[in-house]
Symmetry: C2
Subunit: 352 residues, 2 copies
């Protein structure tokens, strides 16, 4: 049951990711599952709500439209195909709903900026649904990378996220369809790797982005695997690699002048209750474990609901930090895509 | 003391690497330290021989020339600057000496091929001094990567070798001097990373090599840090990164369709007596430890002496496997250098 201090969140559809995020909302002390909008049948949504422990008060909406107009909903989680994000995020913002939008947020940054405008105009909180950024481990990683004594200055970072999709996924998943999630592996797996390289560079944008030779596209031109190089000043570089065609691998290797960070499961930790990473200085390696009382998706919901609560209950302004790093990620996704489309030509970020 | 079955190896100079390799020769049951050639004073060489447990029979030569003419020497280890390799390797081969040559073997592949010709003409065994290839762990890694059931088909491999050189190194080491080891970090650290990507691809040469934007050169134009992309058919890629400017890091991450391999200390294992690596399939990670009774540099000497023994005692032909992968590595080092020199233009390997 909700209480007045809980942010009332509405979700859309009955997919696996909604199952996961619904559980996360249930676990978050400052949020409650207020409603679900079905994209198919009311019966399915009812059954989904029951089997996923929605409070009995949770409403079942027969359309997204009805959900975003519900006065008893503070915020909406959007796990819908990317091509539908702009329309629905903007419509939700117009109704004063705070928005949690799955990555990739948009098909390109100009679409993204329509969401930015709506959030600014209607003073609503934005967050993209990248869960690993909210794992307590991520703060520890940031602290290590920011420490001039143990890590020094960043020199290079390599991040990859790959998984071997099955035949059905490669034929039918929305992530391989031009009309739905047209950014393919780049918008999906690549989004995480780009955020990891941004994090390692304290969210400073690189100067240039160059797609690496050898991207694999499907017949519809959707990226199934690709790599890219990001360049900052003074020889600081990052390489990313994302793929639907290779065994599950989720790496960050960040190398500074004095220290090295290694993470092997940065996107989804191998264990839900603890997450590890390795730091080293010269030949001295240290393993670190970070306990996570709540799964990282709950940490995300808690932070999102906290920010919404500040606005709703204390008249605060939205916090644009999450929007800012999300938009930077979109910029870089766009740049990799542009470089792929332009025969691997480097894209200067100052052009944006 | 040597015996008839031991291959008599001569070494040159009194540097740290010679100290290490001399110990390795002492530990190898099929090799003996037969001689040392000084590049400075006889006294220093005598003292070096004593403190490094050379047998009392070991000869002290006042020049490399005298060493390569010594009839009681079967093979010579060359830890001299790269710019001197061709001349001395060829002169040693002419005298029928088998040669163990430190990496990078030559300043370019046409120099390398003078060594190849001499080895073929005089029927002498060649090996480059890359020690990690002889660590028992490397065979285990190869077996995992070659296993279609657990690893599948290679999709991508990332390898980096970096260390933070001090000010003195960056000013005075032969590896930053155009006249001596003009290939800089690429010929030194990069050599290892390129061999790692070749190993992951069963020593098949890539189709193209492209240097990545952002190489760092010193005032004399020597590479201090750089990266490159290697492309095989069907979207198989590798990225390498080598640097004298970043914390010690020695990674291989190889991702196949079914499995992933991770090695964190591939060049010089953190421990001399055991070496570890990690394999994973989906979310199931396994740590493996390989015991190494002898240090990897001894394994190298044992293999080299075994091959020399086959020729010396059984009339066998030289084994060209090590020469072949060494030459491929030189080809790829050259290609990265050419790409850096040509504004990062891709280099087609079929051009060679």
């Amino acid at each position: 049951m909700g209480n007045d201090n809980q942010i009332r969140i509405g979700v859309i559809s009955c997919t696996n990711i909604v199952r996961k995020v619904s559980r996360a909302i249930n676990l978050a002390p400052n949020a409650t599952l207020a409603a679900i909008a079905t994209t198919s049948s009311i019966e399915e949504a009812k059954s989904f709500a029951t089997s996923n422990n929605f409070p009995p008060t949770a409403k079942i909406h027969s359309s997204i439209e009805s959900l975003v107009e519900d006065p008893d909903v503070d915020a909406v989680y959007f796990p819908i195909p990317t091509s539908l994000h702009v329309e629905w995020a903007v419509r939700a913002a117009e109704k004063g709903k705070h928005i949690l939008v799955d990555k990739p947020v948009a098909l390109n940054v100009s679409e993204f900026d329509q969401i930015v405008s709506a959030c600014e105009l209607y003073c609503v909180q934005f967050m993209d649904g990248t869960q690993w950024l909210h794992n307590p481990r991520t703060d520890k990683i940031k602290a290590f990378i920011s420490d001039p004594l143990s890590f020094g200055q960043i020199q290079t970072v390599h991040s990859c996220f790959t998984f071997a999709a099955n035949e059905n996924f490669l034929k039918n998943d929305i992530r391989v369809k031009p009309g739905l999630d047209g950014l393919g592996a780049l918008g999906d797996a690549g989004w995480y790797t780009i955020q990891a390289t941004l994090l390692a560079n304290n969210f400073k944008l690189p100067k240039t982005v160059t797609a690496l030779p050898g991207p694999v596209l499907n017949d519809a031109g959707i990226v199934l695997s690709c790599g890219a190089l990001l360049n900052w000043e003074e020889g600081v570089t990052a390489t990313i690699y994302c793929s639907f065609l290779a065994n599950l691998t989720m790496e960050i290797t960040a190398i500074g002048t004095k220290g090295t960070l290694r993470v092997h499961d940065f996107v989804i930790p191998f264990q839900e209750t603890e997450a590890s990473y390795t730091t080293s200085t010269r030949r001295c390696l240290s393993e670190h474990k970070v306990m996570t009382e709540l799964p990282q998706e709950s940490c995300m919901v808690i932070e999102f609901a906290r920010l919404v609560g500040e606005i709703k209950n204390r008249g605060a302004k939205p916090d644009w930090f999450w929007l800012s790093i999300s938009r930077k990620t979109q910029l870089l996704v766009d740049a990799v895509k542009e470089s792929i489309d332009n025969n691997l030509k480097p894209v200067l970020l100052s052009d944006w």
